[in-house]
């Protein structure tokens, strides 16, 4: 009798252990931010262990750049992270300029800031869709992605391409502003200022959104910097950190804007930071349009086939919507890069950070957390 009880007890323990199930979220899953997989072990619906699996999108861009010359490399850059390609172009251009000592005309700097801020807005419009969609709120996504097209229209007008702009290149920008462009930008900004209220009504004022995001995906403030958290995610932990202010580039030090922060470290505070940043972007764009000087927009490079950079290396960081992105380039004095390396925010956010903060969360929140961290798989694998 006693022996039988012991066997029964053992069986129950085994069943308890079986409760830890492995789930494979991705690589093709609508809630995942791209082609990657999160392998999670869940007990009930609580995550006990998470592992990021990448490798579905590796294109060896860094290696390919070694075979291309300094100008040809530039066309690969926009593909590092599709939703927001401009900060990558900006980082590369600035790294090359830093290494070569190439001056950039003042007007080009303003145009670059305009590009970067428009890109930031466009990227946040996609984020709205992703973040709300991950919680089942699909209407906002329809709106914001639709409204993003107004920004893409501006890009098309300015650069000739809607998504892959290939516009910011070493020495300045590729083309000057077309006639009447500034007015179009201002009209679009007017539209957005009105429109943002609608997003608030549907998203930030929405109980569902509030309840699903508050206290979820918390990053401890004291560990944040050490864990490599950057950008809006770090500001969502209440830490004021923004490369535009800390390590200013182009003309950000001449512009008046604030860096919003929110205590809490959860999805909700990160969302609030982003919400405010869109408004700051509009503010920056208005200042840029107002203060843009006339003059040259491009300091011409030599014949690209014979364009060499001096020996050495350079590293240029840019604040993107995902956080700090940067380009590290090494030159051996030839017409090809010796090595280029792209530092993406998702490289840290999407692997070590995600693996840490998913533990203890509900399996239904994986997608919302990933969206709030700005995980961009093509940036991880490059």
């Amino acid at each position: 009798m006693e022996k039988k009880f012991l066997i029964l007890q053992k069986n129950t323990q085994d069943k308890m252990r079986e409760k830890a199930t492995t789930l494979y979220i991705g690589p093709q899953h609508p809630g995942i931010t791209g082609n990657m997989m999160v392998k999670v072990q869940v007990e009930g619906d609580t995550i006990v262990r998470a592992r990021t699996e990448v490798g579905y999108l590796h294109r060896a861009f860094e290696k390919l750049q070694e075979r291309r010359n300094w100008l040809q490399s530039f066309t690969l850059l926009c593909r590092f992270c599709v939703p927001e390609p401009d900060p990558v172009e900006e980082s590369y251009a600035r790294a090359v300029e830093l290494l070569e000592g190439r001056e950039v005309p003042e007007r080009a700097k303003y145009i670059r800031v305009l590009m970067l801020e428009l890109a930031r807005m466009g990227s946040y419009m996609l984020w709205y869709g992703g973040q709300s969609g991950s919680l089942g709120l699909y209407t906002i996504g329809q709106w914001t992605v639709g409204d993003r097209n107004y920004i893409l229209d501006l890009f098309e007008e300015l650069t000739g391409g809607r998504v892959y702009h290939m516009y910011i290149w070493p020495g300045g920008v590729r083309r000057d502003l077309p006639e009447g462009f500034a007015d179009k930008v201002l009209r679009t900004m007017d539209y957005f200022e009105k429109r943002l209220k609608d997003y608030d009504d549907l998203m930030f004022e929405n109980t569902i959104f509030q309840k699903r995001t508050q206290g979820v995906g918390v990053i401890p403030k004291e560990k944040a910097v050490e864990w490599g958290v950057v950008g809006p995610v770090l500001r969502g932990c209440g830490i004021k950190s923004d490369i535009r202010i800390d390590d200013p580039y182009e003309v950000y030090d001449k512009l008046d804007f604030i860096v919003p922060t929110h205590e809490g470290g959860d999805i909700w505070s990160r969302a609030l930071v982003r919400r405010q940043e869109i408004r700051q972007s509009i503010r920056i764009i208005r200042q840029v349009i107002e203060n843009m000087p006339s003059g040259e927009y491009y300091n011409r490079i030599p014949n690209p086939f014979k364009w060499t950079l001096p020996k050495g290396d350079a590293y240029a960081r840019t604040e993107a919507t995902r956080g700090e992105v940067a380009m590290y380039i090494v030159s051996d004095g030839s017409i090809h890069p010796r090595r280029t390396h792209f530092r993406g925010a998702a490289y840290v956010h999407g692997i070590t950070l995600l693996e840490k903060i998913l533990i203890g969360e509900n399996v239904a929140d994986i997608s919302a957390i990933m969206n709030s961290l700005g995980v961009c798989p093509p940036e991880i694998e490059r």
């Binding site: 639709g146 098309e156 083309r175 490079i301 690209p304």
Partner: protein, 596 residues
């Protein structure tokens, strides 16, 4: 927050108000969005403007552009005859091809829809497959936006006022940094090599200079030109006329770059060390060469390298032919020529100076002594002006004048010189006369822009104060009582279009007689040959037609043993053509004698 949040439940319902708003999407496919004026869509190529340089296919980092032959487009000088074909399956519309197109023929259009079930049809040739794409052009390059560097690095020169004081070299030459900068403008297409009579390896040596390997550049240059420093200074450089960059900008300074490279080898010994040519073992065959001009020297140099025993017979005291005696020293200093002659001699070429064939040695003797003979005799005589009073004292041929000056003789030209003609010889004579202290007028039948002389030479002459009278036809030279030139009378001319499509002809205007005072008149209207050295027994085989030897494509005359080249053969009458003749003759002689 309470469990039930009224505000948070009702607020999202405000979305309902959107029902009353007009949708902001367009109703695709009924309406198709008009692309932006700068849109980067499918390619268009203006096939007539395109010169097939292939720069687009080189910059394409997706390897999406092939250069192909298409029916109806043949290669010609300055056009490879190839045209780009785009693999739209690979293209990413970065438009770098547009940015580097030197002619601006390639552009992108607003057209962005291309649907086909056949994947092979994604390969298409812009301009041929979308002939009406020209109206759709949206993303194009201008001189301002193009990534080609259209502006030449200026060549440092002496000031005009300084120049006339002496025979010092006018062009100072590029510094290393200037040469690298100029060389790096080259796109290495190679269109120039076709028009170069000698087909020098231009893109290769320019690239060597651009990458800082001057020694390699010198080696490449000496591969088929033993007188590159001369070419680097005075070549007629037809290569620069077809330079791809010249289609919208200033051509690469190919000549100056060659000059830079060869000047890095300062002496004949250094040249020998750098070029380090492979000299084949003597093969026992001998070649005799008449005339140490560019063609003779070239044939001699390359034959010597191939193991032949070469002897040159030169009538004058110095080698170089017309480049020695015809070109003023401010353009081509004597040291520079000597350096190259010394180098050629160091290879084993023997030159017998002051040995005029027909006088000091007979042609027959040379013919019998050597296994092959090459004649590079040039045009030693000049055409007289052929007007009334031509025989006056002080009326001379510009060519003779230059010969005397270059031989170190003194010539008194007085203080007013009139030069008749518009070629390089005319300009040279004018600029030399300026250096002798005379006021100089150039009288030319056509307009300044019709002058066959180098534009740089014409500009140089103007800088030095030479007065150019275009559209003037001399009719008479007035003499004073001592029979000396007193003045030149000329008629003004108007330009009449040529019915056959040639260049406009000058026609004298009756009654427009004008007289300018002169102390000397120089005719620079052409040179001619002197073939008196050739005994009659040879003239049935070695034919002369219209003042030139008749040769086949191997520079061979009717006598298989005798070859000819240079001014006495070709119509272009410049040094590089002479060098090309010499090189061709060398190959033919080697082929002929090597077989025996």
């Amino acid at each position: 927050m309470s469990f039930f949040d009224l505000n948070g439940t009702l607020k999202p319902l405000t979305a309902l108000k959107q029902f009353g708003k007009k949708p902001h999407t367009i109703s695709y496919p009924k309406e198709s969005k008009e692309a932006a004026p700068r849109y980067r869509g499918l390619h268009f190529n203006d096939l007539d403007e395109c010169i097939g340089c292939g720069n687009c296919s080189m910059i394409c980092q997706n390897a999406a552009i092939d250069m192909i032959h298409i029916d109806g487009i043949e290669g010609k000088k300055g056009d490879s005859g190839l045209r780009p074909r785009i693999d739209n399956g690979r293209c990413c519309w970065c438009a770098l091809c547009v940015e580097v197109c030197p002619t601006g023929s390639l552009s992108l259009t607003k057209d962005y829809l291309y649907v086909s079930e056949d994947p092979d049809s994604f390969l298409w040739t812009p301009g041929k497959d979308n002939p009406n794409g020209k109206e759709q052009i949206s993303f194009f390059s201008t001189e301002e936006t193009s990534l080609n560097v259209f502006n030449r690095v200026p060549m440092p020169e002496l000031e005009g006022k300084e120049r006339v004081k002496s025979f010092a070299e006018v062009v100072l030459g590029y510094s290393e940094a200037e040469a690298r900068a100029e060389a790096s403008r080259c796109i290495s297409c190679g269109l120039c090599t076709e028009v170069c009579p000698e087909h020098m390896h231009i893109p290769e040596y320019i690239n060597a200079i651009a990458t800082g390997n001057d020694a390699d550049a010198v080696r490449i240059i000496y591969d088929n030109n033993p007188l590159p420093e001369m070419c680097g200074k005075v070549c007629t450089r037809r290569c620069e006329d077809v330079c791809a960059i010249a289609s919208r900008g200033e051509a690469l300074a190919i000549r100056w770059l060659k000059r830079y490279a060869t000047e890095t080898a300062a002496t004949a010994e250094i040249t020998r060390e750098i070029v380090n040519p492979e000299i084949r073992e003597a093969n026992g065959k001998t070649v005799g060469i008449i005339g140490a001009g560019p063609s003779g020297l070239t044939a001699a140099y390359y034959l010597a390298l191939r193991g032949y025993d070469v002897t040159i017979y030169e009538a004058n005291a110095k080698a170089g032919g017309a480049t020695m005696y015809g070109i003023p020293k401010y353009r081509f200093p004597i040291d520079s020529l000597d350096k190259q002659i010394d180098y050629i001699k160091s290879i084993g070429v023997k030159i017998l100076f002051n040995t005029k064939v027909g006088k000091d040695i007979s042609f027959k003797e040379i013919y019998d002594k050597f296994d092959a003979v090459f004649m590079g005799v040039g045009f030693p005589d000049a055409w007289p002006l052929g007007v009334d009073g031509d025989d006056a004292k002080g009326s001379m041929q510009a060519f003779r004048f230059l010969y005397m000056i270059n031989s170190g003789e003194k010539v008194d030209v007085g203080d007013k010189v009139v030069v008749v003609g518009g070629g390089n010889v005319a300009i040279d004579a004018a600029r030399v006369s300026r250096r002798l202290g005379a006021d100089v007028t150039i009288l030319y039948r056509r307009r300044v822009k019709d002058m066959p002389a180098d534009w740089e030479e014409i500009e140089g002459a103007e800088d030095e104060g030479v007065h150019i009278v275009p559209q003037g036809i001399p009719i008479k030279i007035h003499k004073d009582e001592k029979g000396h030139v007193k003045a030149v009378e000329y008629l003004k001319a108007k330009m009449v279009p040529d019915e056959r499509g040639g260049r406009p002809k000058p026609v004298a205007i009756e009654g427009s007689n004008t007289v300018i005072e002169a102390t000397s008149v120089m005719a620079a209207i052409g040179q001619m040959g002197d073939y008196s050295f050739l005994p009659e027994e040879f003239t049935d085989k070695i034919k002369i037609e219209r003042g030139r030897f008749v040769v086949n494509e191997k520079q061979q005359t009717g006598d298989p043993k005798v070859f000819a080249g240079g001014d006495a053969v070709n119509r272009t009458a410049d040094a590089i053509s002479a060098i090309a003749d010499g090189f061709r003759a060398c190959k033919a002689i080697d082929e002929m004698l090597g077989k025996k």
